[in-house]
Symmetry: C2
Subunit: 115 residues, 2 copies
Amino acid sequence: MEIKKQNEIEEKVVDMEGAKNVRMQILTKGAGNFIMRRFIVGKDGYTPLHKHEWEHEAFILKGKGIVVDEGKEIEVEQGTVIYVEPNKEHQFINKSEEPFEFICVIPSQDKSCPR
Amino acid sequence: MEIKKQNEIEEKVVDMEGAKNVRMQILTKGAGNFIMRRFIVGKDGYTPLHKHEWEHEAFILKGKGIVVDEGKEIEVEQGTVIYVEPNKEHQFINKSEEPFEFICVIPSQDKSCPR
């Protein structure tokens, strides 16, 4: 078993084109089937508006944010679950003053997202 | 995209042998590669002490609990990440007064766990 506290795990700045004020942690790569990541989107930050061939399963841990679903802005908050299908354009935006944090699980085959 | 609030998702009682005072939600089955679940372990509750051939990736959402790792009791709390390897005996226990909640992601091939 591997047990870690989230504040002991290295944070990386997400420097993808189209990203602003986003940090990310690899929480666990597990057995190599899927990767659990934590994102921290700061004030006025956003992830890239993008799509890719693999799905996302996300859970909002903290704060409030916007998810862009094919051009539509949807408000989400702590406790919201989001499933992004493969090849669907999406983006996470923080328009609030507080950090917006979420877990995002991807299959290990997805090489297009931070990992 | 599918967007749901956790309190709108059906909760099921985990009635496996060896479980006490545990409820579970399927947050999303995504694209069929892995399943994101949320567990709520009530006061004096516990999941079964068991093992199976598939891994778990877990993240503690709320409260404090105990993870049993091969007979050793380890305290965990909000923000702890736990990776349980395939075929490793494990159990989640709540010895506190407050609910102990965690996300647990499993591969879809795992038919031995609530899903």
